[in-house]
């Protein structure tokens, strides 16, 4: 095992001296995910809070036909605005998010005690229009209820007649679980950090070493090829792991600056979570280091290796996408599937749920087994004659 250690130390030393690798693997790689996440989250939170808390501006067409209704809306904090020239055009041009139209016949129907109709114009394809529209509809509904109660009371009946059923919602999700939905991409971003962290070493130690014509002299040494490959794999794994742990720490910092409390959410991204998630990812990072080494060793040149590895980066996205589109309840068999298990379990950890030791061990063991197989394949590749002979 001594030769493997020698190779490992040499690869680490050499790559730590390369500013580009250090910058990419240990600075940009780990920061990419958290920064992307923080910016996106900040943006979404601001948007949601804005539209929910801002005073609602509502252009009203035909306000003169229902002065009572308009006055009531004003009391509810709605900024009633004068009618635009063309209500539909105002919606299409996104000058207004919702427009209330009161027809001329409103007053007549109202006085007769019939159902009077109003229209709310909106555009359901406009993201920012949804909240204002919902708020207008809710207000109009409330007004309708209130007026109904008054009419019933005027006839000497009890207003409760109008609501035989009262519905009370109780949300059982903890504030940390609610935040879980925001974390759907956390596992992928972690994998991405590890991937970027190991990529440069995987290429440099294989395709790069061959392109620089130093592989043949290296293989003329008595050290076995298995030891040489393991040393190289170890260096790639080391960088990938360092990159991912830095990524986790950066996430922990990012979450301190995202104001989740205002959304009624909470994320405890503490040291315990960092360590547990990090440990869970160890065998997966091994798999990727081996996979990257295999692919890079097959490539004929540095550039070719870069192309292949960039494509390979899309693979770990699959479980994240599947789980986003089709959220599955965590079941034990999932823990046996590498990549999927890390997705499910890291998410569970982030949601503050208890991960059973059996699930943890199953995930670790199954993924470790895959890593061993992949490392064995990498060693086999290094026994191929064509590998050593530079083009």
């Amino acid at each position: 095992m001594k030769a493997a250690l020698v190779v490992f130390l040499k690869e680490v030393t050499e790559n730590l001296r390369d500013r580009k690798t250090v910058l990419n693997a240990l600075v940009l790689g780990p920061l990419l995910g958290p920064v992307l996440f923080a910016v996106m989250m900040g943006f979404i939170i601001n948007k949601q809070l804005d539209s929910a808390e801002k005073p609602l501006a509502l252009p009203v067409i035909g306000a003169e036909h229902a002065p009572n209704l308009v006055a009531w809306l004003g009391q509810q904090g709605v900024q009633v605005q004068p009618a635009p020239a063309d209500g539909e055009a105002a919606i299409r041009e996104r000058e207004a998010r919702a427009v209330l139209v009161i027809p001329a016949s409103f007053g007549e129907h109202w006085r007769k005690g019939e159902t009077a109709q109003v229209q709310v114009l909106f555009d359901s394809s406009d993201q920012e229009g949804r909240t204002p529209k919902a708020r207008v509809s809710a207000l109009l509904q409330a007004y309708s209820q209130q007026q109904a109660s008054l009419r019933i009371a005027a006839r000497g009946l009890h207003p409760a007649l109008l609501s035989p059923l009262a519905v009370a919602d109780r949300d059982l999700a903890s504030s940390q679980q609610r935040a879980g939905q925001l974390l759907g991409f956390l596992p992928y971003l972690l994998v991405l950090g590890a991937f970027l962290g190991g990529m440069y070493l995987a290429i440099d130690t294989t395709a790069g070493e061959r392109e620089r014509q130093s592989l043949e002299p290296l293989l003329a040494n008595p050290a076995s090829r298995a030891q040489i490959v393991l040393g190289k794999l170890g260096a790639t794994f080391g960088f990938a792991m360092a990159s991912m742990m830095l990524s986790l720490v950066a996430f922990s910092f990012a979450f301190q600056y995202i104001d989740l409390e205002r959304l009624g959410m909470r994320i405890d991204f503490d040291l315990g979570l960092i360590l547990r998630a990090g440990l869970l990812m160890v065998p997966l990072v091994m798999c990727f280091a081996a996979l990257q080494t295999i692919v890079a060793a097959y490539a004929k040149s540095y550039r070719e290796a870069q192309t292949y590895l960039s494509l390979l980066m899309l693979v770990p996205m699959l479980p994240s996408i599947i789980l986003m589109v089709n959220p599955m309840k965590g079941e034990l068999w999932m823990s046996a599937v590498p990549l999927l298990s890390q997705n499910v379990l890291v998410m569970a950890l982030a949601r503050g749920e208890v991960v059973a030791l059996a699930e943890f061990a199953l995930s670790f063991g199954a993924t470790l087994a895959l890593a061993v197989v992949l490392a064995w394949v990498a060693v086999r590749i290094y026994h191929r004659e064509q590998l050593a002979v530079s083009a």
Binding site: A3, E14, Q213, S214, E216, P217, A220, N221, P222, S390
Partner: protein, 244 residues
């Protein structure tokens, strides 16, 4: 001592080596001479176990390369055709890396490095990073790296390729010194003058086969040519690819 018996190696339908056999004795410089593409590099690659021969046997100090490849590599110092250095490491670190891979301890590596740096006249570059080295400086580092473990047998594939006159002369002095120390030196070249100037024995390879073998005098006698150059041409059967 290096002994090669009836080596064969084909890449697809191309027979790169088709029955090469020779001996290189201790305390002698043996030259593998042949035109480009004659099969010299492939023969050497089988010798230092980078490739497995389809047929034939390689013995280094009596150890069979097919049985104990690591043992063979331990007894060889190899300067292959490709001799890239690690440019973010210093010359000394490049040498130390190979010493460590041979399982040597730090003190021994340091002693050997100093001795080789002395012999190869590389005192001014030994602690510089190898990025930006001249061709001559690179070859010196590569040789020191290959010989750090003090091997009894030295194999060099076209060692003077790309070197200027001064470096070539330094290289020749170095090879003669290795011979004086009793090592078995085997090197390949396509440059006839070089082989003629250095070698005790010459093995001429053409089209994957040994076409002539012996001391320069024996070669002259075998071919019936007075001039060594004419003897080479006659042995190979063509002048193609012989000139540098």
């Amino acid at each position: 001592m290096i002994e090669v018996r009836d080596l064969h190696k084909a890449f697809g339908k191309v027979k790169a080596v088709d029955g090469v056999g020779f001996r290189a004795a201790d305390g002698q410089i043996t030259g593998l001479l042949g035109p480009n593409g004659a099969g010299k590099t492939t023969s050497l690659r089988m010798l230092y176990t980078l490739m497995r021969p389809d047929r034939g046997q390689v013995l280094v100090d009596g150890i069979d390369a097919a049985v104990d490849p690591a043992g063979v590599r331990r007894r060889l110092g190899v300067l292959p055709d490709s001799r890239g250095l690690y440019k973010r490491l210093t010359s000394r670190e490049n040498i130390r890396y190979f010493g460590q891979l041979h399982g040597m301890d730090d003190a021994l590596i340091a002693r050997r490095t100093d001795a080789l740096a002395n012999a190869l006249e590389m005192g001014d570059i030994i602690d510089r990073r190898t990025e930006g080295f001249s061709q001559g400086q690179r070859v010196k580092t590569a040789i020191a790296r290959a010989l750090v473990h003090d091997p009894r047998n030295v194999i060099l594939d076209e060692p003077t390729n790309g070197l200027d006159v001064m470096s070539t002369r330094a290289m020749r002095r170095f090879l003669l010194q290795q011979r004086a120390e009793g090592r078995c030196v085997l090197f390949s070249s396509h440059i006839m003058q070089e082989v003629a100037a250095l070698c005790d024995r010459i093995v001429i390879i053409a089209r994957g086969q040994v076409v002539a073998e012996g001391t320069p005098d024996e070669l002259r006698a075998q071919t019936g040519e007075e001039n060594l150059e004419d003897a080479f041409v006659k042995a190979i059967g063509t002048e193609e690819g012989l000139m540098a």
